[in-house]
């Protein structure tokens, strides 16, 4: 059998991550000292290597290998790159937290790496089976990571809920896929799109049913209402470092999934899925922004904030135009950067035996450290969409996209809810600057965390003042 080995070249980053993940696993079980940083450094090295490979082997054109199972294009390159960057920061932020909770073990990093591999496959999958494979690889890692601190009650509850609901959702996704397969006779995304573009298959009962099931699975992964119920409980219950992991990079992968399945695969059914996404978006806007106000736990609050951000992200997809997809892509990257900084700040404030996840724990942060209070201020303002921070440009881009397709009412709704949402972000700022500090302990974070956290927040400010670069990067990734 003749096999063209050059097909492996686009997969080199994936192969590297897989090999290194196995290596980290073996190294971890054989290492003698318990506190050794070896696994940590190897993990970070893996990400750097993968990033170098991705940059060194850019996809100049859409390159489909393994009979179209796997695709490498400029979108996958950019999204993967951001997955590495975000994961890198996640590991930096998590380090002290994990150490203080005796979770600083190989498993966290191995699962993390396999999860990253799952995301990379999701980003590059061009076949329903590959999509499922990537999704499950990621999900299984996430279930295990959530459950890592299993002797804590909230953690095991969160893990249980996540696992059961996740299984339900992936069952629905799989069912949807099987219906699509039944109707079109193919699992290949490109072929499916070709089949749908001719004839009236798009409006058939079986396709619509399949599509709704598919969207259910995607909605679960993204955390869009009404498939969002796991989000607050898991974000809240999971160890903060895992919440950080779940909250940042997987959203980028989920966005890729939406692009591959809905836009590339079911592109000719846009009229059908647009409606469904609009319903989900409006519900998400409502739930995300309104319920967040009543929260007292900051992780839970950020979970609802995630739901609302997902709604904004979907706006660009709903627009169904190239500039809308670019806006969504920009939004998801911006969201990942912001949520990383926000959860990073909770990790920064926490220490052994103290989670710092109550809103009250932020009180008087300005007295304790004006610099980090300012960093948090940037993050909160950006999430609220205050110009000239990055979050503002992201919101502006998606709103522009929906206005361009004459869905003005949707844009107005989104803006109205973002005003309501601004309340709970600003409340954090109020607590930091105008209330008395209750907690006066010193911060234990190391210099690396301090550096990256500051850089993270300043990036929000800097990229906000100069948003053109990132935006044009997204545009060129989608071939605009």
């Amino acid at each position: 059998m003749n096999f063209d080995y050059t097909q492996l070249i686009p997969l080199l980053p994936e192969i590297t991550v897989l090999t290194m993940a196995c290596l980290v696993l073996v190294v971890d079980v054989y290492k003698t000292s318990k506190d050794s940083n070896l696994t940590y450094y190897l993990t970070q090295l893996t990400l750097v290597m993968a990033a170098i490979l991705t940059i060194a082997l850019p996809a100049t054109e859409t390159n489909r290998v393994f009979n179209g199972m796997f695709v490498a294009d400029s979108m996958s390159d950019l999204l993967k790159l951001f997955i590495y960057i975000v994961s890198f920061m996640v590991f930096v932020y998590s380090r002290e937290y994990l150490r203080a909770r005796e979770m600083y073990r190989g498993e966290y990093f191995v699962l993390g790496l396999f999860g990253i591999l799952g995301m990379m496959i999701m980003v590059s999958a061009h076949n329903l089976l590959m999509v499922y494979l990537g999704l499950e690889l990621l999900s299984l890692c996430l279930y295990a990571m959530v459950a890592m601190q299993r002797n804590v009650v909230t953690v095991s509850e969160a893990a249980m809920k996540y696992f059961v609901l996740g299984a339900l959702a992936s069952g629905m996704l799989l069912y949807g896929m099987s219906l699509l397969y039944g109707a079109t006779g193919t699992l290949d995304i490109v072929e499916m799109s070709n089949k749908l573009s001719t004839g009236d298959l798009s409006s058939s009962l079986i396709m619509i049913t399949g599509m709704v099931f598919l969207i259910t699975g995607l909605g679960f992964k993204l955390g869009a209402v009404p498939f969002h119920m796991w989000v607050p409980d898991v974000y809240h219950g999971a160890p903060t470092s895992v919440t950080l992991y779940i909250g940042a990079a997987p959203k980028i992968a989920a966005f890729a999934l939406v692009m591959r399945l809905l836009v590339e695969g079911l592109g000719s059914m846009q009229a059908q899925w647009q409606d469904i996404l609009i319903i989900m978006t409006v519900l998400s806007l409502f739930v995300g922004n309104v319920i967040a106000i009543a929260q007292t736990n900051i992780k839970r609050m950020l979970a609802y904030s995630t739901i609302s951000h997902v709604a904004y992200l979907l706006l660009g997809i709903i627009a169904g135009t190239q500039s809308g997809y670019v806006a969504s892509m920009f939004y998801v990257i911006v969201y990942a950067i912001m949520s990383m900084a926000a959860f990073g700040m909770i990790l920064f404030l926490s220490r052994a035996g103290f989670e710092a996840d109550s809103l009250d724990d932020l009180k008087g942060l300005n007295e304790r450290s004006p610099w980090y209070a300012f960093m948090m201020l940037i993050v909160m303002f950006s999430m609220a969409g205050v110009p000239p921070l990055l979050g503002f440009w992201a919101k502006l881009a998606v709103l522009k996209a929906v206005v361009e397709v004459d869905l003005v009412w949707l844009a107005v709704t989104a803006v109205a809810f973002s005003i309501i949402g601004a309340f709970y972000y600003l409340r954090v700022v109020k607590l930091m600057y105008f209330d008395k500090a209750e907690d006066t302990n010193d911060f234990i974070a190391g210099p690396d965390m301090r550096f990256f956290l500051s850089a993270n927040a300043l990036a929000i400010l800097g990229l906000g003042i100069f948003p053109g670069g990132l935006l044009s990067l997204c545009a060129s990734a989608l071939g605009m």
Partner: protein, 649 residues
């Protein structure tokens, strides 16, 4: 060249960031080294740029560096327009800034806010460079506001002093008024020209010169006049022209180095620069030119008068600045933009010199600023004395000094001008020469000559200031004396500005004067026979006679002419009027709106009302999240069913 321009602009910014954010880490010496290095680099690059454009005949550079945003077809971008005008401006800005940086080491030596101060002035240099190098209105506005911000911060630098806070608030509010006009002007440009880029706007100007706009129904206004006057209102705020001049004298509450840098040499001249830069617009509106000229003339004359009765050394110089800014505006109004920029440059040097010399005196006098308590400082502070003398001579336009060339050119230009209002302006600037000489030498004599009126303690400690203070004085004294002689020919009558400044042939007064121009020497000789010279000498002599020879005359005049003295001393009651009318009036309206509009309707009904209902909604809806797994699964399945149903039924 792009890298040179970027480096030129960013070097001071880098210095400002390091000194400002890491002031504690780099320490006091670190702060001044890093900012001086930044501004020094900037200065060297400016000189290179100047050489490139002026001597090597480099082409005008007009490129976009970064596109910030594209909205509805209008691009907002950062770009540089570097031509002869810009090259001249950046050299002046960076040179004076560098001198002031060095001087500050001595002046602020014991101040606790040392690093903060250096950070601010470096930030100012950055902002000013952004302003003058801009190639579009948005960046111009950015620079405009940024220098305003730094000015605000620096006037209130000693933020524990009530008067300083009052002064910076005042500067801020008055500039808001000007900026409002400026912003409207930019908006009008955007609306009618459809672009923010200078090049596009200037290219369109000739075709739009006759178009009119109807702002209020039934009124037809010339578009050009409206745009130019609106932009000029901005310049009135920034360059402290009557009636928006009130903030500048109070800005002297800030430390002296910034009075020299910002409130005399550079920032306040931004308005003049802007008018010169916009010459392709102003040229098409005689009304606007006349407006500029009359406002300038009023400022030049009446503010000079106030200078005569001031007793605070810095305030005298401040009023002199106001008056000189008026001169520049008059020149711009007469279409002699080159003369305006020329005077801007010479003024930057000698006024910075005078301010720094005043600062040197203030240091020696232990931060006392009343000239009535000085006198006879000549023998204690020789360097300060001589440099002040040179500065004052340049200010009054003594033949041969830099001020002579620029001021004489302005007066001649106004004389030759046919723009409406030129007659009044001519007399105002002519008489202004006498007044300038009077107040300058009044101060000079009272400070350096005559009886030593200071108290015993101060007198004991009188001595010359350290080299970081006197060094910049000497370095500034050189251009104050000779720069005019060196550059008058090319800048005024030669082809220095090329396309940077646009003048219609029928407005070209400088060309008219140029017909009689033979050489620098000839210009000096001609000047010595013209009225301005004799007026200046008369002013000088009067000052000597009244304040040195027969001091009782001064008191007599003061007693016999009470009402005039009072009028001048109170600065024409401008502050009182503003206080009572604008401040009081707006407070009254504000209170009314606050009571009825804000508290009742907006706060009570809309804000709190909607906030309360959202809060209530939130507390209800949150119960959907029950925490039970089977509820969650149920919601998912129901959601799925509903979405399916949406399409199937």
């Amino acid at each position: 060249m792009e890298n040179t321009y970027l480096g030129l602009v960013l070097a001071p910014l880098a210095g400002a960031i390091i000194a400002g954010l890491f002031g504690k880490q780099v320490g006091r010496a670190g702060a001044h080294w890093v900012t001086i290095l930044g501004v020094g680099i900037s200065f060297i690059l400016s000189v290179l740029v100047f050489k490139h454009h002026v001597f090597d005949g480099g082409a005008t550079y007009n490129e976009t560096v970064y596109t910030w945003m594209v909205s509805d077809g209008i691009t907002f971008q950062i770009g540089f327009l570097v031509d002869q005008l810009t090259a001249l401006m950046i050299c002046v800005v960076t040179f004076v800034s560098l001198m002031v940086h060095i001087y500050t080491i001595g002046y602020m030596h014991d101040d606790p806010g040392y690093q903060r101060f250096f950070s601010y002035i470096a930030l100012f240099t950055f902002s000013m460079l952004m302003l003058v190098m801009s190639n579009n209105f948005m960046q111009l506005f950015f620079g405009w506001e940024a220098v305003g911000l730094v000015s605000y911060l620096l006037i209130g630098f000693w933020f524990k002093k009530d008067t300083a806070i009052y002064a910076n608030l005042k500067a801020f509010l008055v500039n808001r008024v000007g900026d409002f006009g400026f912003l409207l002007g930019i908006a009008a440009v955007l609306m009618y020209f459809g672009s923010l880029n200078y090049a596009d706007v200037f290219a369109l100007a000739p075709s739009l010169k006759d178009s009119t706009v109807e702002v209020f129904p039934g009124t037809e206004w010339s578009l050009m006049t409206m745009v130019c006057i609106l932009l000029f209102i901005g310049a009135m705020g920034k360059s402290a022209q009557v009636p928006l001049h009130v903030w500048l004298p109070d800005s002297m509450e800030g430390p002296t180095p910034i009075s020299a840098l910002i409130h005399a040499a550079t920032m306040v001249t931004a308005g003049v620069f802007m008018v010169a830069r916009m010459s392709p617009l102003y040229e098409y509106s005689e009304t606007a030119l006349g407006f500029v000229m009359v406002i300038g003339a009023i400022t030049a004359f009446f503010m000079g008068l106030v200078g005569i009765v001031q007793n605070d050394i810095k305030r005298v110089v401040a009023y002199s600045t106001l008056s000189q800014l008026g001169y520049m505006m008059v020149a711009a109004g007469a279409s002699a933009y080159a003369a305006a920029i020329f005077h801007l440059m010479t003024h930057a040097f000698f006024k910075a010199l005078l301010f720094l010399a005043a600062g040197s005196v203030i240091i020696a006098m232990h931060h006392k600023q009343d000239i009535r308590e000085m006198g006879g400082l000549k023998k204690y502070m020789p360097i300060t004395y001589w440099t002040s003398l040179f500065g004052s001579l340049a200010l009054i336009g003594f033949p041969g000094t830099s001020g002579f060339f620029s001021k004489d050119a302005i007066i001649e230009a106004v004389h030759a001008s046919s723009v409406p209002g030129a007659d009044i302006a001519y007399w105002a600037v002519l008489l202004g020469v006498f007044i300038t000489a009077l107040y300058s030498f009044r101060m000079f004599f009272l400070v350096f000559h005559g009886k030593e009126r200071m108290d015993h303690h101060t007198k004991e400690h009188l001595h010359e200031t350290p080299w970081v203070v006197t060094g910049p004085l000497m370095l500034l004294a050189i251009p104050s004396l000779i720069i005019g002689y060196l550059t008058v020919e090319s800048v005024l009558f030669g082809d220095y500005f090329k396309d940077a400044i646009f003048v219609l042939p029928e407005h070209n007064v400088l060309a008219k004067i140029g017909e009689n121009y033979t050489s620098e020497i000839g210009f000096v000789l001609h000047g010595m026979m013209a009225p301005p010279f004799w007026l200046a000498m008369g002013g000088l002599f009067t000052a000597w006679f009244i304040y040195m020879k027969k001091p009782e005359i001064a008191d007599n005049i003061k007693n016999n002419m009470q009402w005039i003295y009072k009028l001048l001393d109170k600065k024409y009651f401008a502050d009182e009027f503003n206080e009572a009318f604008f401040a009081g009036g707006s407070r009254g309206i504000g209170r009314l709106l606050w009571r009825n509009g804000d508290i009742r309707i907006i706060d009570g009904l809309m804000v709190n009302g909607s906030a309360n209902s959202i809060g209530w909604l939130s507390s209800v809806v949150r119960h959907v999240q029950t925490g039970y797994l089977y509820h969650y699964a149920f919601v998912m399945i129901v959601g799925l069913m509903l979405l399916l149903g949406w399409h199937l039924f």
